[in-house]
Symmetry: C2
Amino acid sequence: MNPLTEIDTLLEARWIIPVEPAKTVLNNHAIAIDNGIIKDILPISEAHSQFQARQTIILNDHALIPGLINLHTHAAMSLMRGLADDLPLMDWLNNHIWPTEAQHVNTTFVTDGTLLACAEMIKGGITCFNDMYFFPEASAEATLKAGMRAAIGMIVIDFPTVYASDPDDYLAKGLALRDQYHPHPLLTFCFAPHAPYTVSDKAFTSILTYAEQIDAPIHIHIHEIEDEINRSIETNGIRPIERLHQLGLLGPNLIAVHMVHLTDYEIKLIHQQGCSVAHCPSSNLKLASGLAPIASLLNQGVNIGIGTDSAASNNRLDMFEEMRLTALLAKAVSGQANTLPAHQALEMATLNGAKALGLGETTGSLTIGKAADITAIDFSDLNLSPCYDPISHLVYAAGREQVSHVWVNGRILLQDKKLTTLDTFELINRAAYWHERIDVAK
Amino acid sequence: MNPLTEIDTLLEARWIIPVEPAKTVLNNHAIAIDNGIIKDILPISEAHSQFQARQTIILNDHALIPGLINLHTHAAMSLMRGLADDLPLMDWLNNHIWPTEAQHVNTTFVTDGTLLACAEMIKGGITCFNDMYFFPEASAEATLKAGMRAAIGMIVIDFPTVYASDPDDYLAKGLALRDQYHPHPLLTFCFAPHAPYTVSDKAFTSILTYAEQIDAPIHIHIHEIEDEINRSIETNGIRPIERLHQLGLLGPNLIAVHMVHLTDYEIKLIHQQGCSVAHCPSSNLKLASGLAPIASLLNQGVNIGIGTDSAASNNRLDMFEEMRLTALLAKAVSGQANTLPAHQALEMATLNGAKALGLGETTGSLTIGKAADITAIDFSDLNLSPCYDPISHLVYAAGREQVSHVWVNGRILLQDKKLTTLDTFELINRAAYWHERIDVAK
């Protein structure tokens, strides 16, 4: 008889849904975790004859899935949740969000807002997020305090803010931060030019040069609303995607956020160039941006992940909500109820997000050798009874309130629905502090 | 000094959002309840000098709203939750739902399914639902066991089922059930002809005669998918709404469910005739039925409530989800972010549903003299921090998991998130029993 292999943790679950291979549901299986890595996935009945775990967690009513990946957010904006609703994008940005940011945003704001967002995301089964905000050094620190994985945006925007004075200054600050951390087991960095209408050709060209040097993704809002496209045609004579194409920005490193308004040519181009899309359904609806042609993009073979956008335009950082909405909207928009079945929505919310971030070898599926980024969903709630198909329930019936445990890199961040790294009371107090400041200033 | 008035219950809350008048948020107010009726709504500071309550419940972090009204469901179908997903309506009905019903539905199925649905609805803040299903005697009993308010459907469908043999038989059974209960403090009855494509002119004419006699609402699926309309044109030479109009069915008693595909003429006609609409956004998306023209109906002044439809096509009986989706979809479909602001979505999910059911004087708002049908939402969760506007949070940020207390007619059905009338363990066991039977038969 072989000696038992010592490992840190053994998770025994009713179901394991690894996402890779697609549609797979493993009954009564276990995940062996050691040193933050998935060492094995095997039937529970075999696990005890192979592994000696320092800790065993038994999850008899649960499904284990890869941690959800939020492919687009501005985490710190959680402090502006519900500040201004029922407004179109440009009114909302120009008259509410940007003035509030100009007056209040600093490193403390970003720290407090990002911690609050991390707490919400962990409780909702999210293990990794792709962030874009000012003072990313504060976002990075908050992420590490929470224990999450993140792609931190090196933001670039043409106008000066309290954070930086011009595109070169933004870029220099972002790159210095990246150099300070790189390489890091939890943090990676994306270039984050805000949008075609706020970034000049010159800045895009600098970003491209750096992005090629360090092989980092470029994370940008694009084709969110019709007006953005019309203004680009007026100013540049071409649509924003074509402009980025001419500048050489389209490629496997590009994470194109929103992509609501697309021609057939643009859908083909995006696929040919290997770009990824970050679909943000709640935000697109709430700001009346429109209905993204997700089925057409999928039919073309484009890699699409899902994002919540910020809590100021959503107002939940809830990937269960976005997953469900992604599946439902794609059916209505395509007119085909078999469009985007449940397992595909789950794949978009996990593996596709990881691929977009260049993290496809690290996270996004429960695969031997990948990081133990894992979310447990408790199916014992009567709202999930009966259960004919756990993948269907994950997408169409479950909510983030059923998330019971979350691990990132093998570290437990949520245990029986309790946060292990963050103090709820303190987060709410800090939110109340900012609420008062912002409300008085309004 | 006046003597104190004795009452059953005093609820003290951080916020009361009565829905009537619209947009109102009362800070630190109390609701006085006696004998199931709202006796008063007044500042907490004044309540103790006016009322002597046998029970006082202090809800310092909570908003009280009128109980949510689910204007369209088939409660017992909770036992088929997730049985068949990602399928178009007719394939789903003909090849999955109807065969399963033919084989399994009986009074026990309806009892167990309705109790499970009631438990889910109570936990989600729903106090009243408009039901359509076979064996409504079992639905009625289950509703009363749960303690909820319901409009029970007197279902009529042309083809025979285990429940009834022909339209006259359906009608006779429904009316006998109604006579058994009428009048009742919690139960009312609606005629429930399934749909234009399953009910003959003759049966519609009988229903109309009876509906005029007893002044009861008529609850019907209509204009759900394009194919329904095309088939009506082939068979009857006219669209279904026009057919109902010619039969005299359109009027203030009509609750038209779905209404996805409408011409401008039909929108005007529906308004002129005073019909109500039951909007079911998740179901319309999931079955790829389409995007209902809600903004156009609202602009015309049509009374629109919101329904979950059944757990087989949603798959959540969650009015928070439907409220949010109603507000978000209307913005994207109309292209205007200020369409259907939060307070209007809340009104649709409460008062408008009550009006459609002829219960506008009984429930749907927190108003002195109405029944104490009340839902409390706990805002202490970090997902609702900060809170600039509680109505915005109710619609865009809160989830049913934040519902802490529910009262119907002054009786508490949910206390600190625990069901008081139903046994969760037993409900889940019964669901498991049906799961096994249905799965074996598939």
